[in-house]
C-alpha cells in the first residue's frame, strides 16, 4: 500500500498541477462574482497556443521555447477571455450563456486552425518539459521521495502562484476590491470602486492562468493538442466549491481530484489496486459524489459570493 502511494505520487502531482492552476483561475472569477463555464474553452485555446509555439519554435530555440510556450499560452488565454469579458460586462449576457459561446468558439476555432496548419485535427509536441530529480532535496527521507523525485518544475511554479493568489485575496487592496465586486457590486460601486473594471481584470487574470493551465497539460502529460483538456475547466468550478473558495483549501481539493484521477488511471494496471477489484469508474465518480454531498450539507457551498453569477448593471440600485 505504501509502495502504491509512492508510485502514484508523481503522477498525482502531475494531474494536480493543471487542475490547481485552473481552479485558481475559477477562484479569481468567482471572487469577482463571475461564473465562467468558458474556462474549459480558454484552457483549450491556451493548450493550442502552447502546442503551436512548440511546433514552430522548438527546432530553432530549443528548450527555451518551453518557457516562451508557457507564457504565450497564458497571454493568449488572457486575450481570449477578453471576449468573455466583453460579452458579460459590455453586452450584459448571462454568465452561463456567455461561457457556452466562448467554449464553442474555442473548440471549433482551435480545431479549424489546427487542421489548416497541420492538415489534421491534432498538433504533436515532440518535446515537452521533462521530469527531474532534485539532487539535494530528494535525499530527504519520505518527503524527498514523495515531492522531489520525478517531478515537473511546473508543479512548483503553480504552487508559487497559489501562494500569490492567496496573498492577493487576503492582504492586498486589489484582491479585496475584487471580492467586494462579487459580494455586492452595488455597495462596491457606492464606495467608488469601478466594478466593471475589476470584473474585467478578474476575468482576464483568470484567463491568463487557465490558458497557462492548458499549456501545462500539453507540455507535461498530454504532449499533443487534440482540442480537449478532458474537462479540467469544468472540474475547476467544482474544486473551488469543495475548497470552500479558499486558495489553500483549493490546493488540497485539487490534490484530491488529481490523486483520484491517478488511481482511476492505474486501477487496472497496478497490482495492488487491481487486487482491490474496485472499478476505475468508481474512482472517477468519487470526487463528484463527495462534492455533491458537501454542497448538500453546506447548502450550496460555503463562502460563495453573494452576487455570484448575477449580471451587473451599473447604477441598478
Amino acid at each position: 500500500m505504501i509502495d502504491l502511494i509512492f508510485q502514484a505520487f508523481p503522477y498525482a502531482l502531475t494531474f494536480t498541477t493543471p487542475i490547481l492552476i485552473c481552479s485558481l483561475a475559477a477562484l479569481i472569477n468567482t471572487k469577482g462574482g463571475v461564473i465562467n463555464i468558458g474556462l474549459e474553452g480558454i484552457m483549450v485555446v491556451g493548450s493550442f497556443a502552447s502546442a503551436l509555439v512548440m511546433y514552430f519554435l522548438y527546432s530553432q530555440l530549443g528548450s527555451s521555447a518551453l518557457i516562451i510556450s508557457l507564457i504565450i499560452s497564458g497571454v493568449v488565454g488572457g486575450l481570449f477571455s477578453l471576449l468573455f469579458a466583453v460579452s458579460v460586462i459590455k453586452f450584459k449576457v448571462d454568465h452561463i450563456i456567455g461561457g457556452i459561446a466562448i467554449n464553442m468558439l474555442a473548440f471549433s476555432l482551435t480545431l479549424f486552425l489546427a487542421r489548416v496548419i497541420t492538415g489534421k485535427g491534432l498538433i504533436r509536441v515532440d518535446k515537452g518539459i521533462s521530469r527531474i530529480d532534485n539532487e539535494l532535496l530528494s535525499n530527504i527521507p519520505l518527503i524527498g521521495d514523495l515531492f522531489f523525485t520525478k517531478f515537473y518544475i511546473t508543479t512548483y511554479v503553480v504552487l508559487f502562484i497559489t501562494i500569490i493568489v492567496a496573498f492577493i485575496f487576503n492582504k492586498t487592496r486589489f484582491g479585496k476590491n475584487i471580492t467586494a465586486c462579487g459580494e455586492n457590486p452595488y455597495s462596491a460601486e457606492s464606495c467608488g470602486i469601478n466594478v466593471s473594471l475589476y470584473k474585467c481584470l478578474s476575468i482576464v487574470l483568470s484567463g491568463f492562468l487557465a490558458g497557462m493551465g492548458g499549456g501545462i497539460v500539453i507540455l507535461t502529460y498530454q504532449r499533443e493538442f487534440t482540442g480537449s483538456v478532458q474537462g479540467i475547466g469544468f472540474l475547476a468550478l467544482i474544486t473551488i466549491i469543495l475548497g470552500k473558495h479558499n486558495a489553500y483549501k483549493i490546493l488540497f481539493a485539487s490534490f484530491f481530484f488529481g490523486f483520484v484521477r491517478t488511481f482511476a488511471a492505474m486501477a487496472s494496471v497496478n497490482e495492488v489496486l487491481s487486487q482491490l477489484q474496485i472499478p476505475m469508474e468508481f474512482y472517477n465518480v468519487l470526487p463528484y459524489v463527495l462534492t455533491l454531498i458537501a454542497v448538500g450539507i453546506s447548502k450550496g457551498g460555503e463562502n460563495a459570493p453573494q452576487y455570484l453569477g448575477e449580471v451587473y448593471i451599473k447604477g441598478k440600485r
Binding site: 461564473i35 463555464i37 471576449l83 460579452s87 459590455k90 453586452f91 450584459k92 449576457v93 448571462d94 452561463i96 450563456i97 456567455g98 457556452i100 459561446a101 466562448i102 467554449n103 464553442m104 468558439l105 473548440f107 471549433s108 476555432l109 480545431l111 479549424f112 486552425l113 487542421r115 489548416v116 485535427g121 474537462g231 469544468f234 468550478l237 467544482i238 466549491i241 472499478p279 469508474e281 468508481f282 472517477n284 465518480v285 463528484y288 459524489v289 462534492t291 455533491l292 454542497v295 448538500g296 447548502k299 450550496g300 457551498g301 455570484l308 453569477g309
Partner: protein, 360 residues
Amino acid sequence: MDIMKKLINNENIYDVAIKILTILVGFLFASVLLILCGYNPVVAYATLFKGAFSNIKSIGDILLRATPFIITGLAAAYGFKAGVINIGISGQMYVGGFFAVMAGVLLDLPQVIHIPVVLICGIIGGMAWSIIPAFMKYKLRTSEVFTTIMMNYIALWSVQYFSRLIIPSQYETRSAVINDSASLRNPLLSNLFGGSYVNLGFIIAIIATIIYYIYFEKTKAGYEMKAVGLNLNAAKYAGINIKFNSFMSLVISGGLAGLAGGVFYCGYTNNIELGVLPPYGFEGITIALMGSNGAIGIILSSLFFGMMSVGASFMSATAKIPNELVNVIIAMIIYFSAATIYFKDNLESIVNNFKRRKES
C-alpha cells in the same frame, strides 16, 4: 404580418431582424477567417449550401441531424422559460439514452409497443437524472449550474460501468445493439428520402414541439411555469407554488433531454457509445437561444444547424475546407445572439430616434 408575428411566438420584428443580422455576422466573421487562411469564402459557402441541398437524401440527412437538436432545444428552452439553466442536458440525455437502449436490448416486444416503451424509458432516465439537482435546488437552494455539471460526469462513468455490466458487447467502447423492434429507423421514411437514415425520431420531435407549444400557450400549468420563470416574486404573490414549479422545471427539462437520448441512441445510432457524453448539451442551449424559446424558432434553428452540419461534410470533402468552419460560424452566431438584448435595445432606440426626427 400579424400571422407572421404570431408564428414567431410573439417576438417583435426587431428580434427577427437581429437574429438574421447575427447569422450574417457569423458568416462574415468566418469569411474573414477563411481569407486569412487562404481560402475563398464564396467557394466555401457555395459548396456548403450545395452539399446541404444537393439531393433528396441530403434533405433527409438535414432532418436526421435536426432531430436531436429539436428535442434538446426544447429541453433547454423549457428550462429557460421556467427560469433555470439546464447545463446537465448531456448527462440526462446520456442516462435517458442508456435506459432506452437497455429497454431496447433486454425486452422483446412487438414494434408498436416496443418503441413507446423505449421512449418512455428514455424520459424516465432523463427525469431520474435531474431529480437530484432539482431536489437540491428545491430544498437547499443550490444553484443547478454546479450540481448538473457534477451529474454529467457521474452519468459519464456510471453509464460506462453499468452498460458493461448489464448490456455488454464484444467492443469495450460500445453497448450491445438494440433489437430491431425497438429501432426508430423506418424503411418507409428512408425510401422516401433516398436512403437517408431519417427516422421516426423526427416525427416524435415535431410532436414534442407541438405539445410544448400547447403547454405554454394554452394550459394553466404552462402559464404558471412561465410566470415563475419571468418573475419569481410576482408569481409567488399570485399564489403560484414556486417551489414545486422550480422543482418540476428541471425534472421536465431532464425528461425532454432523456427523450432526446432515447431518440438519438435508438434512431441515429442503435447502441450507446461509452466514455463520451453526447455532444448535444450545449447545442440544445444554443438552439433555444437562437429560437427565442419559441416552438417555431426552435424548429427553424434546428433545421439551420442540421443544414450546416450536412453541408459541412460535403464542403470538407470537396473544397478541402475543414468542417470545423461550420462550428466557428455557429459559435459566432451564438456569441452575438446572446447579446441580442443589448443590440435590440440599441436598434430600437436608433429606430425610435429616426422616427422622432422624421416627425419633427
